[in-house]
Symmetry: D2
Subunit: 435 residues, 4 copies
């Protein structure tokens, strides 16, 4: 996470101010529950809220205390005691630091995820809009970077829409993974704290109680969460690579929007580079990288060790902030993407008729030619187009063996683009539920 | 995947025999659908099943053809034509190789996943059995490798049960991710094939149609699949590391079963090493490693490139076979784990009374001592136990400041183990739905 | 490692036969050294060589013993005793299993590395040959996939040559990392074995003694080794991606050799796909993936645990066999690469003159125009070429502001390709030491 | 990189101020070289130094320009022109942005590496000091977490010293990898810039000229660099895991220094946790994670794309700052590590005599007992110690079969600790060159 690739709303989730506010709320709600259970005085719980609820926590002061105690939660509690006064002794009763830390991390990740879900919604809306706009914009489909058969640019975008819809579902699952609360004490046995406190805090913080925590919330949850972000990042990479390819000088079927005043190169004034999609490719690598340490965090020793903590202090913000930025950038890029249908048509016409080769192949087999012979017949004419720039239709019409199986009209009939787009509606209905 | 870490049922899914059989079924079901649609003769579809259905495909012959064509599906189809005869020209009509390859991979991954789900069920059963067996076996809970407060060995196992239950849910989701079928032609437009063929093949092969494929099934699905296996592997590592710790010479609270005849060391005859759990730790690293190339596979170029193929030829078997073996080994290890409750008790008693320190701390604060003072009072007595081997209860009873707040009876009352286990039932009910 | 992507010479290094032969040699050389030191009878050492040296080890028998003992080295030694007879008791004196296992792994990795070094030499030879062949083949250089300025195809290949030369150096370093021998006993103290035994075995096996082993050779060495293979794999990916780009339909400046009989697509007979380079892209992902578990292997517990073993049983063969295959495939691909200089010229001419924009920019600044003004002047003319297909030279000659600074002759002079290639010799001399 | 895990000296290398200063120096040295070659006026070069050399670059102003141009180097040059005046048009002549960016990154990485090398020197000094201090402190060596044979704590530290010495060598190699300079123009052909400019700038900035750059310095260099940091991180993890094990409650042979005022747990006042080594374990995971995107950066498209840039903006600081912090923390931890030789002795005595089992085994074979029989004899007595708490020596002396081969004196003679430490000097000489 660096300012260059950050948006303020997501960054704010990870600020010390937000963190201490969440810590306070967890402690204060826990005090409420304990007051209700008769463990601490109701008046104390009220004073905690009254004094702490409106306080601004002094981050420098907390840091100062931590330098001595080398323990961040104790530092916060000591500072809170300075604010709340004697009733502070009823704060954190029977709780352990991780009750606060882990529940806070859950709250932060849930909030971050809600932003990411909104990001995905915006991206999906942009993709849908552009997909319908270009539903019938015919373009060549490519496998191995080689022209294959026609498709439409709308179908390409429908694929991206379907892929990010899956990403959204995965993220909803991932949100559920990390939306749990643990207030269960030193080794998770509730020895010093009533399970009802956990239930109350969970409800108030928008979480569910962790069925069995062991001082910490188990880290397979977080591993699954960050692995899911890595998959989303990979889908961002896929769409970015598509745009990079389309903007290549020789292809140039689409271009990132190039704002007035923007400069492509300090040396070459004519250049307009796909810098957004290249940038997204790199950002995807980063979000992906954060999954591995999250996976390595799972195997904590016994009930817990703290090796996961330094990792999460870094990847918590790094992964969510970077992914939020990337999704926002991708959405803007797709909304403004400049599409060149004429260039798509021109590229497709480059090998006159060759895209229809498979139809001819099928027609030959259906006319009784064996599959192997049909393949050879088509290939020998295709190679003339490929190598000598011949016209595919002309060559086929002049090939005696082909003509022995198919009439001129039958051959000409195979050179119809509409044939390739006849199921675009089917695909759109599958993806968008409408066409 | 190496024989040493493989089980035959899972290996069989990835054999050439199985693969060609699935390929045949996809082609034959597609021919059925086309016959139904009047695209190919019904008789042809029947002959394909009759001749191909009972044939044994000659793998050497297919390899021989592939050496010339450098294309595996064409090699198979050529061989199939040798078996089926002239009607073979109705096979693969309007289809592209990936229709066969990707749908086959889906079938293989689904079958592999069903084995893995059964593996998880067996593991869960073993964990549940052992958890109830040791529900009340008190043992020290540890954070940072340091004694914290008592818990029970059953609670430890309940945690593992809950974790692998989550893994099972994730795997069910992952199965749905890859259980799709694509029979959509060269760039996924159904130009040469009716979408109803895809629907028929999908239904027959136990899959659902991919909403929009582009010659290939999109690889974000496979990335999510292998990432999920990586999370499961990390949970395997966690439980294995727990066993390794428990078997340490100085801890020795549990041991892997050591069969008669087994040798621990070629040099040191007394050694009994936790070799299964160490082995599982390594296997977990491998299964985890396969997720990264799967993530890198997502960003295929345009409608598809074939860079994913070599990766999947390796990680398809490698990840599923290794994970299957690891789950099987883990289940056996947990079923036979030798548990030493006396050793658990002995270890816990090592620092007489120190595990009760938090209770004393709480009692002091509840008696009106400030949190900071209570902490200092407890710590100064705890340190005598830690450093001089003193008895915690004796020290507390002899500490004037402590006694100023608490009576002897109140202090003694805090040294009751039952206090720590009173919510074990709650936890078991949460995890198992019963206690 | 799967047969499809394997070459026999490298596979043989990892066979059980090779492994047991190396184990035998380590034991027999150790016996020699002990005989020399008077620890075991000289006659015994001779008998060990006489009987074991010509024996064929029975792998099934060894497996059978291992099934009982669950210990592979003990199984081998038991089998060796069956061959050698009573003198077998002088085998493995004071040694521990890892002395044999780790030293054997070193020997295997050294042998594997020697093959990889030869692979790199062959690749470098191919690259050098093609680089000189195309030293003066002018082609457009591209940044961001966008035409930049001219370079030559030879310079592109010289870059690849320089990159793989660095890879070779790195591999030489990596070989030294893992070329060590440990015969130091149960925890590396030489308690039961004389350090001179280690020195003797090391010398005979082509290794150097590990300065301090702790039953095992430290795994930072292996981590560095596999990380180095990962870097080499990434360089393979880079060159493969270059070829994939060059073979794109719209670019088509070079093509993988397409053998007679080869089939590009089961559906589209005209297709010639860059399947080798795509395949190499995938294989690179795999070799790279193996580095992470090797890094996770470093942190063994205390003097050793055996978690590294299962990882190495897999990645030892997987990484070296796959990389060997990939290097061989890449070499063949580059040797036979079909290069189209006319297509390179044609692509470069696509934007008539635009590649000379920077030269014009420089000429303007040198004629006294400020950098910012010069940039704007060039960009406004460049954009007409880009957007309207105008001719850059014509536009510049017709631009009054440009002409105010530069004469027609001065402008025309900037449109000379030789200007861009004048330092090709310099670059070749730097890379190859000759030009 | 977060403030919590950062040290100011390393952070400063990555500040905007440092970056712009290096950019300026590269431009100014390039202008010097061009002045020398007669390409730009000598007076201009002088003015550039005079005005720019003492200027403070206004980062907000540069950011403002970049927001319009969307190009960071152009923004800087525009700002520099505001400072330098008309002579600014002689800045950046014939250069491209990457000439500045990549050479700057090299300078930053070299400076970062010099700090890391100093860090390693400090760590090595600490390890050596503690190794000699505990050269003869006998402790049990452990494999699989199980007691094996005695070693000394000094030998353990000598191993760490040897490992970090290797890390230092690797880092020296890695430094050479990234210490190159590219001033070669838009696609690396030196079309618009004399190669002698590159040579001059390289010499002044402490770098060597990149043999063949293609606008960018090839990224295999950076991949190797970050992979090397990943290996060093893994070695940090190994030593940290060792300390974590030693500090376990049941082992407690060493402890991290616990400062007065430090608090181990908010709930359990007696706890002293190995938080530094646990923290280092997590930090190691992060540094390791950064290697994967660096490897993915290698395969840039054609002469370059900019996907690597966002990755490097993050991992450049993240990896070096985190590793610097980790090495510093590790050094402090090892310097102050509290070692408990009595605890080491006590743990070793836990299984009275069992550590001598291998010696007895050897003695039996040397007395003519077959290896298999000797193994069984030793194991059956060892198992009584293990399972019934018997004394190993007593058992052996009472075993008729043992006594048939060995006299009482011969057996007693095998229970001498000095036997295990007799080669410590050898090991120290190998590692430190002295003992």
């Amino acid at each position: 996470m660096i300012p260059r690739y950050s948006r303020p709303e997501m960054v704010a989730i990870w600020s010390p101010e937000t963190k201490f506010r969440i810590w306070f709320e967890i402690e204060a709600y826990a005090a409420d529950a304990m007051a209700e259970l008769g463990i601490v005085p109701k008046e104390a719980a009220k004073i905690i809220w009254d004094k702490g609820g409106k306080a601004t926590f002094d981050i420098d002061r907390i840091d100062e205390i931590e330098r001595e105690t080398k323990h961040d939660v104790i530092a916060f509690l000591t500072h809170l005691a300075e604010i709340v006064g004697p009733e502070a002794r009823f704060v954190h009763q029977g709780m352990t630091s991780s009750d606060v830390l882990d529940t806070c991390l859950s709250v932060q990740l849930v909030r971050a995820t809600d932003i990411l879900l909104a990001d995905l919604d915006a991206l999906l809306a942009a993709l849908k809009k552009r997909a319908f706009e270009h539903k019938d914009t015919v373009t060549i489909g490519r496998s191995h970077g080689i022209h294959a058969e026609p498709t439409t640019f709308g179908v390409k975008l429908a694929q991206a829409y379907a892929e990010f819809s899956r990403c959204r579902e995965r993220l909803v699952n991932a949100r559920a993974e990390i939306a749990t609360c643990a207030i269960s004490g030193a080794v998770g046995t509730f020895a010093n704290i009533d399970p009802r406190v956990e239930e109350h805090v969970a409800a108030k913080m928008g979480l569910t109680p962790e069925p069995v925590s062991t001082q910490v919330i188990p880290r397979d949850r977080h591993a699954m969460y960050f692995a899911t972000l890595a998959v989303i990042a990979s889908s961002i990479e896929r769409l970015s690579v598509e745009v990079r390819h389309l903007q290549r000088t020789e292809v140039l079927e689409a271009e990132e929007y190039f704002s007035p005043g923007q400069k492509g190169s300090s040396a070459m004034p004519h250049k307009r580079n796909p810098v957004l999609s290249e940038n997204l490719t790199g950002l995807a690598r980063m979000v992906r990288a954060y999954a591995t340490p999250a996976l390595e965090n799972v195997a904590l020793w016994h009930e817990r060790d703290i090796s996961h903590s330094s990792v999460e202090r870094m990847i918590g913000p790094d992964a969510t902030v970077t992914l939020d930025f990337a999704l926002g950038r991708l959405t803007g890029m797709m909304e403004k993407l400049v599409v060149y249908p004429e260039a798509m048509q021109k590229n497709m016409d480059r090998f006159r008729g060759l895209v229809h080769s498979q139809r001819v192949l099928l027609a030959l087999t259906q006319a009784g030619v064996s599959r192997e012979d049909a393949y050879r017949l088509v290939q020998r004419n295709a190679m003339k187009v490929w190598e000598q720039g011949a016209d595919f239709l002309t060559e086929l019409l002049g090939d005696k063996d082909v003509r022995a199986a198919l009439s001129e009209e039958e051959i000409r009939d195979k050179f119809d683009l509409g044939y390739h787009t006849k199921h675009v509606d089917t695909i759109f209905k599958r993806v968008f539920g409408e066409s």
